[in-house]
């Protein structure tokens, strides 16, 4: 029991040493308001990027990102550090985005057209992305939700498999397996040319 407690405290020390967010969270919990501003600066782009994948409007995604940080401000005092601050913020972001989608279901533009896989120029607005980009995004949109989430968090948000597993609510091993099948499925959808 003693060794377990010692291991935990050592782990916390190591985590604090390698994770500046944890130190910022602790400073905020001790009453340093400015620590939160630094957390916002460090993670607003990541939070916005995740939300933008769910919410198909820049302005709405910015509004939802703002809500995320307001909620984080209220909850950071009780943050216990079981997950990283980043994955905690991203979790709030995903929840807020899903909640926004529920509230604005009728206003959301339709998902990427499935025909985009075979007709890359179907949507003039996406021509700028390039043909291959359109094909890739269309293929990602066709993945099962869990595989899509794991792939996007891993590839676009540069999260570790541990962080991905925290956000996808699964084990680290399951995250790795889902990642494998997401890649495999994408290769099937895109053909060998990808």
């Amino acid at each position: 029991m003693v060794s377990l407690a010692t291991n935990l405290s050592l782990q916390e020390i190591v985590l604090t040493a390698v994770d500046p967010d944890r130190e910022l969270a602790e400073r905020f919990q001790q009453g340093e308001r400015g620590a939160f501003d630094q957390i916002v600066k460090r993670h607003q782009k990541g939070v916005y990027r995740i939300i933008r994948r769910y919410v198909r409007s820049d302005a709405d995604a910015a509004d939802v990102s703002q809500q995320v940080f307001v909620r984080a401000f209220k909850g950071l005092g009780t943050f216990r550090g079981a997950a990283s601050v980043r994955s905690w913020l991203y979790r709030i972001g995903i929840n807020c985005a899903l909640s926004w989608i529920r509230d604005h279901k009728r206003e959301q533009p339709a998902e990427l057209d499935e025909d985009a896989l075979s007709e890359p120029h179907a949507s003039p607005g996406r021509i700028a992305d390039g043909e291959q980009s359109v094909r890739l995004r269309a293929a990602i949109a066709k993945l099962p939700p869990k595989q899509k989430m794991v792939l996007e968090l891993r590839v676009f948000d540069d999260l570790s498999f541990k962080e991905v597993s925290e956000l996808a609510d699964c084990t680290e091993n399951t995250a790795k397996v889902n990642f494998h099948y997401a890649v495999k499925r994408l290769r099937e959808l895109l053909g060998d040319e990808a």
Partner: protein
């Protein structure tokens, strides 16, 4: 399609400790290509052994690497917002003070303290012994001082007694009943004195409403 396809290979490795179930080494190829450092030593060795033996697997690994590179090169969706404006908006919305969790403040002590105080008072009230003398007792302090003390009625002592008069229940005050006994004549003298007998109360049942009203009026006069 299910989110996790059925495994195709027969060789399986133990999952990292604390995780459910073993996984197929095939299923670790993408994780190996994308983050070899995040695999356990056992997983890494098995994947590397498979790669060394199987050229098709090496092709798969190369194709996976290429695809992941393409995905990472994709431009972000949408335009970037004004980050400074967003920071300002967040700062304005949350305000200048840092919220404290409820257990770190003192305000929760107020209701808890009030409840504790109320509980303590309740316990004191319930545990206090009865100090009011019962009927027939005298106040010891006044008795010692030689002051005669009238017997008092305790809070739980009944002050009335039910009587069944003329087919209906009537509550008669005990003090009024005492008045009947005060100086009560001896049996046999009632007729001589013009009083109703007290040793046999069967006559009470024969009283009419007017008699009872008259008796109550008399009792009231007697009390005053």
């Amino acid at each position: 399609m299910s989110e996790r396809d059925p495994p195709s290979a027969t060789l399986r490795v133990a999952a990292p400790s604390g995780e459910a179930g073993p996984c197929d080494p095939d299923e670790l190829l993408a994780a190996y290509v994308d983050g070899v450092g995040e695999l356990t030593t056992g997983e890494r060795k098995i994947v590397e052994a498979r790669l060394a033996d199987n050229p098709a697997w090496r092709d798969d690994a190369d194709a996976t690497r290429a695809l992941l590179g393409q995905l990472r090169d994709l431009p972000d969706e949408g335009a970037e917002p004004d980050w400074s404006a967003m920071e300002r908006a967040i700062r304005d919305e949350v305000g200048p003070t840092t919220p404290r969790p409820w257990w770190r403040g003192w305000r929760w002590l107020v209701p808890i303290g009030a409840l504790a105080m109320a509980g303590a008072v309740l316990v004191l009230v319930l545990r206090t012994p009865e100090t009011t003398p019962s009927v027939g007792e005298t106040n010891p302090a006044r008795r010692d001082a030689g002051v005669p003390v009238a017997p008092s009625v305790g809070p739980d002592e009944p002050t009335t007694m039910p009587l069944w008069l003329d087919g209906s229940a009537v509550e008669v005050e005990l003090q009024a009943a005492d008045l009947l006994d005060d100086g009560a004549p001896s049996p046999g003298d009632e007729a001589e004195l013009g009083l109703l007998p007290t040793d046999d109360l069967a006559w009470v049942d024969d009283l009419g409403d007017d008699d009872i009203v008259a008796a109550e009026a008399w009792l009231a006069r007697k009390k005053t």
